[in-house]
Amino acid sequence: MALLRGNVPYRDFFDHKPPMIYFIHCAGLYFGSWGLWTINTLLALFTTWLFFRLNKNYRLPYPWLLPLLFNLMIRNPLVNMGINLTREYTAFFTLLFFCVFLGRSRYRYFLLGFLSALIFFTQQDQFLPLIPFLIYLFLNGKIPIAARIIQVGGGMLTVITPILLYFAANHSLGYFWEDAFQFNFSFYTTQKHSPDDHFRSIKYVLDAVNFELPFMIALILGTAALFMQNKKKGLLIAALVALIGTMSPEFMGGRVSKWNDPGYFITYFLPLSASVCMVLFIVFAFTEDRILAGRKAHLPYIFLLCCSLGYTALQHITHLQRNTDDPIKKAPELAWLRQQAPGDYQFYVFNNNQYIFFYNELKILAPSRWIYHHFWENYENWDPDHKILQNISEDLLRHRTSFVIMDPSTLSAFRNPANRDWWLSFMNTWYEPVTVPGSTGQILWRLKTIPQ
């Protein structure tokens, strides 16, 4: 929305994701309320169709099996948190990359570079699973290696150049670099867990989201195929490395979740939808072993791979909940704010990501570039001199922002008590709580200078 109104990512609002996801959402909003869903669905359809065609070209006995598995995995409600998260798009792009990789397009290398860059600028870490394929690509090929590298580079530049030009033209290149790259290395990936914890975490998530069987089958068949007759063992190794690579965010730390409560971070495992299918494709397409080739060999795997996920999808369909039933959508504060109809910059959400939804619902811009605040809870050394908080407060006063959502009880989670005290004192000086009819807690604040 900010982009549609002429704002520039990173400069006018902070997020540490690469920019493609904002451009996708911008395009979705441009096409209306169903725009984003349409883009997402078309992308899923396109990916499914290409993958099906690939399966058919390689004469798999059930060419629909792996595309079906991909869709069951990526639309698994236990892991995807609905649609439109970055890793969902990178999963589509990764599978498209794979289809191009094994396809015969004359622009193959260019497209591979193009898709790699799309993935990198949608979710950086998801570029990692592509590396083994790119290495394989540079080691094996009919055209000279220099030509391959140039074409891949050309494809990458097709995405990189306009992005860089856009940020350069809008004087935002520094912010882009700091927020989308430096931040992730200096903060987001610095919290460490033991390897044992990561292992337990992976096992727990795979169990909890019904990915256990597809993951185990892909890993076991992939590993077993290395010791059996297979035409493309090198590619199989690349796919197995990619399988592990898609889970790399789990090993990069930065999350405050415990292994038995991954919470939001369960979506980190969504890219397995693509990598599991890629491993299975290579196992089935290039095997020369009779126990893995043919209809009868594949028949049990149809059920093993799809039964549990099919059951989950069926349960989800038969127990669908309307998003209007979401407690945040039904919050009395939202109804009250609708009556007040605040304009751009007149409403701010502090330290509660769920209520960020209000900006979109009210179609207004946030007064500060700092639209979410959980870093104050995650990192002890985040904003040690209150500079960011000060910046937020200045923005609120500059815009004379009328309303702020802030639940004071959530501030107890701030790692640095000085930050919490500073912010509370600011709020108490300039804002006063509003009693909203029907609300159980007092979380809405109003600028004091506005008459009752």
Partner: protein, 498 residues
């Protein structure tokens, strides 16, 4: 060389069985209300009492006799030894069967069996009835596919053992009996087969019936171990088929049984359409798998779809045997190259064992001593340890797990009603309060010193029963305050001085 390999295979799987059993040595075998009750009934037997007449439980009698033998031989370690030896016997026989049928990895399915039956997410430790019936079922399967001259007698004997250990588990044997009695399945006449089986069954049933007749307890036995289960335990709380299915899925997921279950059922079903020498037998094994989870569909438990913290996971323990039987039938009789041979079976073998092996390793690496369990380490137990009660001098109301105390102090219970959750489960349980009155009379008769009352406010579905019980306590007992346990009430007999 091949012989040596086979021997190593046997040694490997026996060692695995012992190793997995070691995870449940008494020091680490978590207490559980059911197991504590079995042990209490075993003690009643040891002291000359009779199950059902002198102490109530709705289980068949063999589990009590097994606990009696364990107590006779020394207690916890003796039971561990019985358990481990039975596990080893089932494992050894199953290995021999795999070898006889020329499976490429005869140790694979016995290993799976051990990993499943010792899966701590399901088993609730050692000593549950379904653990024993599961082992007996696997022995039954080995006898069924063996060529022993007393085959039918042994099948009958094992069915008797299973039936009198946990009645519903005999259902899983029914399809095998139907198969065994098919005219073409054996050269022995059908009538002789039935006679042999019946004789084996009677070898168990007759002594048991005689025991209860001699002790004037036959009616109690019939009422408690049979009528009760059909009248109460399987008829009250009903859930929809969807609920059962969701619970089944959740339990399999959380207990790490999902992969073996899916692999076995899917391969079994596919085998019906593949080339297989014994499709009828595959069908029998598939039906046995379904029948082995039948307790889930018999109702009677107050469990919800979300099984977090529920205590009924052991109802699915018999899958350890039936899934292995199904996989055995698939692998042993297949004529399909995609299921035959070392490579095919190695892949499926790793698939079914990997997750369970991981669970076992995690469990082994994070063992928690049983003494740290809430039932053993708590303020009321500390209090009782300072004031150790004698026979009949302690009564625990409303908490089956707390019956552990009777076993720690090696004492008899003053009333035959050792557990009371039926008051919380059924609206019309003990409508005339005759059971409650009998408890009260027993407490007065024995002048029982301490009563631990866990029946919090809404424990009783029938409020009048709650009123009767609490007014009785107020009248004859005085409260002992235990600051760490504000809800629990320790009551002390008023006539006894401090």
């Amino acid at each position: 060389m091949n012989m040596n390999k086979q021997r190593y295979g046997l040694l490997f799987v026996l060692a695995a069985s012992v190793l997995l059993s070691l995870l449940y040595v008494p020091y680490y075998n978590i207490p559980n209300g059911d197991k504590e009750v079995y042990r209490c009934v075993g003690r009643v037997l040891l002291r000359g009492g009779v199950p059902y007449r002198d102490i109530f439980d709705h289980k068949p009698p063999l589990i009590f006799f097994l606990n009696y033998v364990a107590l006779l031989l020394g207690g916890d370690w003796a039971q561990w030894l019985i358990d481990t030896c039975l596990g080893l016997l089932a494992t050894g026989l199953f290995f021999q069967l795999g070898r006889k049928y020329r499976l490429p990895f005869p140790w694979l399915l016995p290993l799976l069996f051990n990993l499943m039956i010792r899966d701590f997410l399901m088993s609730l430790g050692m000593g549950m009835t379904r653990e024993y019936t599961t082992m007996l079922q696997l022995i039954f399967f080995c006898v069924l596919l063996g060529k022993h001259r007393y085959r039918y007698f042994l099948l009958g004997l094992l069915s008797g053992l299973i039936f009198f250990m946990q009645q519903d588990q005999v259902l899983a044997l029914v399809p095998f009996f139907v198969y065994a009695f098919l005219p073409d399945e054996d050269t022995i006449p059908v009538f002789t087969r039935i006679l042999g089986t019946a004789t084996g069954f009677l070898a168990i049933a007759a002594p048991l019936a005689l025991y209860f007749i001699v002790h004037g307890s036959m009616t109690y036995f019939w009422q408690d171990a049979f009528l009760f289960n059909m009248g109460w335990y399987t008829t009250t709380i009903k859930e929809s088929f969807g609920d059962h299915l969701r619970k089944l899925k959740t339990t399999l997921d959380k207990g790490n049984y999902e992969v073996p279950f899916m692999v076995a059922v899917i391969l079994g079903t596919c085998s019906l359409f593949f080339r297989n020498r014994k499709k009828g037998f595959i069908l029998v094994c598939l039906v046995a798998v379904i029948f082995s989870v039948i307790p889930e569909f018999l109702g009677g438990r107050d469990v919800r779809v979300n099984i977090e913290g529920m205590g009924f996971t052991h109802y699915f323990l018999p899958l350890s045997a039936t899934l292995c039987m199904l996989l055995f039938a698939v692998f042993a009789f297949t004529e399909e190259p995609v299921l035959q041979g070392r490579k095919a079976q190695a892949i499926y073998g790793i698939l079914v064992c990997a997750s369970l092996l991981y669970t076992a390793i995690q469990h082994g690496a994070h063992l928690i001593p049983a003494k740290d369990d809430d039932a053993i380490s708590n303020p009321e137990m500390d209090f009782l340890r300072q004031h150790p009660p004698a026979d009949y001098q302690l009564f625990i109301f409303g908490n089956t797990s707390a019956t552990y105390a009777y076993n720690e102090f090696n004492i008899l219970v003053p009333s035959k009603w050792i557990y009371h959750h039926f008051y919380a489960l059924y609206d019309n349980w003990d409508q005339d309060h005759s059971f409650l009155i009998s408890i009260e009379q027993d407490l007065l008769r024995h002048r029982t010193t301490y009563v631990l009352d866990y029946s919090v406010k809404h424990f009783f579905r029938d409020p009048s029963a709650g009123e009767l019980w609490h007014s009785f306590l107020e009248k004859y007992y005085q409260r002992v305050d235990l600051p760490e346990r504000p809800v629990l009430q320790i009551w002390k007999w008023k006539g006894v001085s401090e």
